[in-house]
């Protein structure tokens, strides 16, 4: 068959956009993916700016938008944003703590044609869950929100982050998700960036605990097929191969921060020397193709050995740049989670040290600095 040759743009369009609508959140989870320096409410983009960004995203080829935070329900324009995305035929995914959502609010989001809700839970035991969230009553509220969501017919995903306080109940959280009527559950071992890195010694489970949780969830996954989809995120510090962070830098997704800064990933601001462009000043297409931050680690050209000649270089893209920076002080190095990294042994050493029994220390909860 003679098909005409299509000239493709050198850079493929992103599939997803993560919109951090706000950094405001009532919870204080010690592994929060937001940066340590949180954006104040007064500096956030206004409604018109967000609507423009979503229109540009649809035009650029984005298919799914993830409305996140902070707590996105803290934005009064959340329903308006969802309705706008639905008109653009963008697939909308609300990533929420549940706190701040009312039954009527969920109904309005459903009418606005919200496609999917991802609700976080901290544990399947109430007291522990509320302690991890740093918020009394969070657990009970979340159960209520899950029921409201399921009642509207919007598909529900339960997201649980695993660490030493709940690692023994990883399968319990899958069971809880099934009982709540979720169609999908994410069991994600903690990623240590930003707040998670700050709290690493409080959060790190032992190798034995992490391994046991992993195999128990894998065994359960097979049994519950057809009932719930289990997405499992491996514990990095106990891994042999790195995760393909963001599916490759500047390859599939982009993040917009509450103030409009365009980031290749959550933690990208931790990498020194990167120049980020702001969606207030540049179009998304311009940012995606030309901004220095997105081009810094795109493709494989930036790599050094052992990544440069590795047969996996286009599978895992050298792992996570932010982790290489955080642990080795060098964002161009191979992610030490990879067994081919000359520094791989440090991961197990840190995990062993940080998973030692805890003394009196407590979480550094994620909180906003009070305005002075």
């Amino acid at each position: 068959m003679n098909e005409p040759i299509r000239i493709k743009s050198a850079i493929e369009s992103p599939l997803g956009l993560l919109a951090e609508l706000t950094h405001v959140c009532p919870l204080g989870c010690p592994y929060c993916s937001n940066p340590l320096e949180l954006d104040a409410r007064a500096s956030e983009l206004d409604t018109a700016a967000w609507l423009r960004i979503f229109s540009q995203a649809a035009e650029l080829g984005v298919l799914q938008v993830h409305l996140s935070g902070g707590e996105p329900a803290a934005r009064r324009d959340l329903t308006e944003i969802v309705a706008h995305c639905a008109r653009l035929s963008l697939y909308t995914n609300l990533i929420t703590s549940g706190i701040g959502l009312s039954e009527a609010g969920v109904a309005r989001l459903s009418e606005a044609r919200l496609d999917h809700v991802q609700l976080s839970i901290q544990d399947c035991e109430e007291e522990s869950a509320d302690r991890i969230a740093g918020y009394k009553g969070a657990f009970a509220k979340k159960l209520q929100v899950a029921r409201w969501v399921v009642a509207t017919g919007i598909p529900l995903t339960i997201n649980a982050v695993i660490h030493r306080a709940n690692v023994q109940r990883a399968t319990g959280m899958v069971q809880m998700a099934i009982e709540l009527g979720a169609r999908r559950v994410e069991i994600a071992h903690t990623q240590y960036y930003g707040w998670g890195l700050k709290n690493r010694a409080q959060l790190m489970p032992s190798r034995e605990e992490a391994d046991a949780a992993w195999s128990e969830v894998e065994a359960l996954r097979a049994k519950v097929e057809g009932k719930i989809v289990v997405d499992h995120v491996a514990p990095d510090y106990h891994a042999r191969t790195p995760k393909p962070c963001m599916g490759g830098w500047g390859r599939r997704t982009l993040n917009i921060s509450p103030t409009g800064k365009a980031l290749p990933c959550h933690a990208a601001e931790s990498v020194p020397g990167l120049e980020f462009w702001n969606a207030r000043e540049h179009s998304l297409a311009e940012i995606w193709e030309k901004s220095p931050a997105f081009n810094a680690f795109r493709g494989t050209e930036w790599m050094r050995e052992p990544c440069r000649s590795c047969e996996w270089r286009e599978v895992d893209f050298g792992g996570c740049r932010c982790q290489a920076l955080a642990l080795l002080g060098d964002a161009r190095a191979t992610d030490p989670a990879c067994h081919l990294s000359p520094r791989h042994a440090m991961m197990a050493d840190i995990a062993r040290r940080d998973s030692a029994p805890l003394g009196a220390a407590a979480y550094a909860y994620r909180r906003m600095e009070k305005m002075r």
Partner: protein
């Protein structure tokens, strides 16, 4: 037993809320969008999934496809059952 053989011919397959087909203008072709998933759908998959609206039975769906594609009915039915079983296991289709 091949995939999907256990599905009843009287089942009325339906794409649930939060799972939908979309034409992908930027890259060309059709995709199936679902929670945290984007799956490319070829022409045959699109023809099947467009008919998964909860009104047709599996038997009726196969009959319609046989008329459109004029192929071997057994083969078409096996393809349909395999696709539906796969998507149902991923909770992207209700039976």
């Amino acid at each position: 037993m091949s995939a999907g053989e256990e599905i009843s011919g009287e089942a009325r397959p339906r794409l649930p809320r939060g799972v939908r087909l979309k034409f992908d203008e930027a890259r060309g072709g059709t995709v199936l969008l679902a929670p945290e998933r984007v799956v490319r759908a070829d022409a045959v998959a699109v023809a099947i999934l467009e008919r998964c609206d909860g009104t047709r039975t599996l038997n009726k769906l196969v009959e319609e496809l046989c008329e459109v594609y004029k192929g071997d009915a057994k083969r078409i039915e096996a393809d349909v059952r395999a696709l539906l079983a796969d998507l149902a296991a991923k909770r992207m289709l209700d039976l």
